[in-house]
Amino acid sequence: MDISLNWLKDLINIDLSAEATAEALTRVGLAVEGIERHGDDTVFDVDITSNRPDCLSHLGIARELGAALGESLDVFEPEPEIPMPPVLAHDIVRIDDPKRCYRFTARIIRGVKVGPSPKWLVDRLEAVGERSINNVADITNYVMLELGQPMHAFDLDKLAGGRIIVRPARAGEKMVTLDDVERSFDESMLLVCDAEKPAAIGGVIGGLESAITDSTVNVLLEVAYFRPDSVRTLARKLGVSTEASHRFERGVDIDNIVRASQRAANLICEVAGGQKGEFIDIYPTPIHRTEIECGDVSNAVARLTGMEVSESKAVSILDALGIESEDRNGLRVFCSPSWRYDISIEEDLVEEVARHTGYEKIKELLPPASGAGEFQAAEPQKASVRNCLIDMGYSEALSYSFIDTAWDDVFQPVPKLDRNEGVRSVTLRDSVIENAVRMRQTALPGLLDAVKLNNNHQIRDVRLFEIGKAFISEEPGELPTERELLCIVGSGGDLHADRVEPERTLDFFDLKGAVEGAFEAAGVEAAEFEAADLLHLRSGQSASILIAGNKVGALGRLSEEIAQKYKFRQPVFVGELDLTAVLAANRRTSSYTPIAKFPSVRRDVTFEVGRTPAVAAILRSARTSGEPLIEHVGLVTVFEGGSLSPGHRAVTIRVEYRSAERTLSEEEVEYSHSRLLARLDSELGLRPRK
């Protein structure tokens, strides 16, 4: 809020420079974020926290400054006045909903001459960023900025029946407001009406028809109190926020109403002529001030801040802030002032004392030592996975957790997030990014967007990964399931350090290698891969990833259909893993086997096969043959092309025979090897290639 230094000086004696004044305000929690000269005035941009609506006025700021500088306020004091007796007053003002409108005052001013405001008024308003409208409206603004009390001036002659009824709207009621917008109301909305129709939206904005114009002669000045949450709801529903609603939402000083009304009336009479007439004050719902019992403020301050502030010093700070106290049977009882709604417990008093003593006076201490710190249990594993992937050339990405609904049913999530039966994704009511209301079940769209963005910048070689959560709904009323995913994407070539052109184009096995590396880095059992068809992957180049027989994710080449949607011009390979499941898997274990004393005998054997059996099946069959002399079976090469018929492959495996007791004889090896070949023949129909 803009605060004028000259205006403050009307309210309190300030001997400090503008800068020192700003510092004093900042020190007590009224952060001055800007200082600007305005003619002979200085204007502070003060950041006011939502708990301090009392500081949304020059009076409020002056009050804080007074407590900080030890100066007393010189503020307008109203003349004693007797409002119209209730019997008569109810003919002019009636509150039908005292639960939302606690107090309503109306003052009649007759014979005004509406016109431009005098220079002093225009200057004051302009200094704090307000535009001058006319002398009457300007005074209502001026008094609000001075005393914090929003108010509204009606043209009395345009109010049907010359009266006010504060009531809920009737279905279908409409009104054009001061901002020239026609607004429709529902029955939940509290309006300030005349005898027939709405004249203002309570605590928010006035109606255009009953507004002050150049021809206005008689004025009804409203100064009222509306309940904060009701104004907030109303303003939200209507989508308007005004200086008035901003203050009412946070709470205005209900005891300040008469002062504000009289101040405004006096000023209107001063700048626009006219005579003060009747004053109506309907006050059905009083607000009770909070009382706080505090045996020992000094002790409370020490307990929470470590500062030594004497009881008398603390009490005098609180007193200067309007928090009065009395001794009741040996117990000090503090009473929150009418303008403060944020003082209700002992800790609140401590804050008042602390900030007016100065936070800089609080010492800097470290708490006494306690136990050792710890990372999250899975953090070392996750750190290893991250490090492993960056070593393999993948950069870490971060994308939004909410994604476009256009990606619904395009990707197949990891199994734990893909429960086909009655599964519901988590959806946001609305988003700030168009259509991005789906909480992701997969992180792939984010990474693919990144591939696209990089491609658009002529970066073709893209390797990225992301670790982050994905979501799925549970039973109604239950919190959604959150699982952490590891998502990886690769496209383009295997770019090497300090080279601008890759040597080779990435393929399935690059991504597979990265996934295997991640498993190894996480220290869990090796992953298994089996050919599988997945929604978003190209058939024949896609695999399910399993750990201990359970599917935890998938890997493969992005389907042509999705690639086209993204307009990718080169193959893109993607993988997604349920990291929560991977990290929970059994840890890899090591145990020592004595190093062999006798030499081994190696036999390489080549089989010509089609697309099946898979190499994994050949190796598995050989490894599980049960031949006691087989120590190890490994893959040598897979060859395609040459003299082989299309679709055929020459798979060479190496079998290593060894005994722990002796050097094997040729006959022993031959016997074992022929039994192995016989098994491969009977199980898989494999014959060694000549």
Binding site: S50, R52, R232, V350, I362, E364, L366, S395
Partner: protein, 379 residues
């Protein structure tokens, strides 16, 4: 041809013994002369030419002049045939000739071998400035880098790292944090809601509650994590970002410990000369509350950098970082902790802001674009 003629002379003389050894000496001289003549071209090691070819020529030369069928070998055989009284003298002659030949051959061979090896080394010379062979390394996201650094500092200060749910109930996101229904912070349009009425956590303070429920007190935790607010993306706002929340609850904890702790970790991150400033502020879940600033790590609080206005602190010398305060008694009560026995402090700040400061990032949307031209700058 020369070998042949020497041989024929020797055969012719054999039947007689003599003591003046004229012919024998001539034979030795001839062998030497023959070698000298052929070896001449190897005398100058500076002679150009293919060292490897010259070396094999030299090897052949050695065979011819020192081998079994060489004139030298024949000369040696003559030693036994000369008269015993001059045999010693003749023997010495032959030996000296042989030594001379072998020594010269050895020297020439050594020098040629060196030349061959040198030529090979020269031929195999590489450009060591070519890049090493390794895959181009990826990079950690700057948020991860900053998070790790801060986590390491706090773990060393005895804090445990915690995280928890990102989608929360209103209870954890608001009620337990002393933000009751009707509170402006709650009804502000900041929070994302799911259609099932759950909130995307709008601050990591939710983890305070979850952690205290799980672990009880005393407690010292740091909770880094994603939070969500309904801000339209611009240079300084994004709808999803990261916060780090700190919480310390024990008997006798005061704001002095808050100030000390915040100052200590900022010193560890930005250097010993870092100082902090606490300003009164307001947060529903702390009372008293404070915002904290620290002296700018670029200009060390002077506000000026090389005569210009310092950018990270906008010339003020201070960088505003986060919010903090003493845990509100209602928050402690919400997790069954007696606020008359225990007290605690909490603080929080944004990782995006931290990363933006540390790396001079002018637009935090970059952090979520995944543009490799951006990501690869953080090595």
């Amino acid at each position: 041809m020369l070998i042949y003629s020497v041989f024929s002379v020797l055969s012719f003389r054999r039947p007689w013994t003599n003591t003046n050894m004229i012919e024998e000496k001539e034979t030795v001289e001839a062998a030497k002369a023959a070698f000298d003549g052929e070896f001449e071209k190897f005398v100058d090691p500076g002679v150009n030419g293919d060292a490897a070819a010259r070396l094999s020529e030299l090897v052949a030369l050695r065979v011819r002049h020192t081998g079994k069928k060489s004139a030298l070998a024949e000369s040696k055989k003559l030693i036994g045939k000369v008269a015993p009284e001059v045999r010693g003298e003749f023997g010495q002659l032959v030996q000296s000739v042989e030594r001379s030949i072998v020594e010269r051959l050895d020297a020439a061979e050594a020098s040629l071998k060196a030349a061959v090896s040198e030529a090979k080394t020269e031929a195999e010379r590489i450009d060591v400035t070519l890049p090493g062979r390794r895959i181009k390394r990826g990079t950690l996201h700057p948020i991860t880098i900053v998070r790790r650094r801060i986590e390491e500092i706090f773990v060393s200060m005895g804090y445990s790292i915690e995280d928890d749910r990102e989608i929360e109930t209103d209870y954890y996101n608001f009620d337990a944090l002393n933000i009751p229904e009707g509170h402006p912070a709650r009804e502000s349009q900041d929070t994302f809601y799911t259609t099932d009425g759950f909130a995307l956590r709008s601050q990591t303070s939710t983890v305070q509650i979850r952690a205290m429920e799980r672990r009880g007190v005393p407690i010292r935790i740091i909770a880094p994590g994603k939070v969500f607010r309904r801000d339209t993306p611009d240079m300084t706002h994004v709808p999803m970002f990261h916060q780090i929340e700190g919480l310390c609850v024990d008997k006798g904890i005061t704001m002095a410990h808050l100030k000390g702790t915040v100052t200590e970790w900022l010193k560890r991150l930005f250097g010993e000369d870092t100082i902090t400033r606490f300003r009164p502020s307001y947060f529903p879940f702390t009372e008293p509350s404070a915002e904290f600033d620290f002296s700018c790590f670029k200009c060390h609080g002077t506000g000026k950098l090389e005569g210009e206005r310092c950018r990270p602190c906008k010339g003020s010398g201070w960088i505003e970082l986060g919010g903090s305060g003493m845990v509100h008694p209602n928050v402690l009560k919400a997790v069954g902790v007696d606020p008359t026995v225990y007290s605690g402090f909490a603080f929080g700040f944004g990782l995006e802001r931290m990363a933006a400061l540390m790396y001079s990032i002018d637009d935090i949307r970059h952090l979520f674009d995944n543009d490799l031209r951006f990501l690869e700058q953080f090595r």
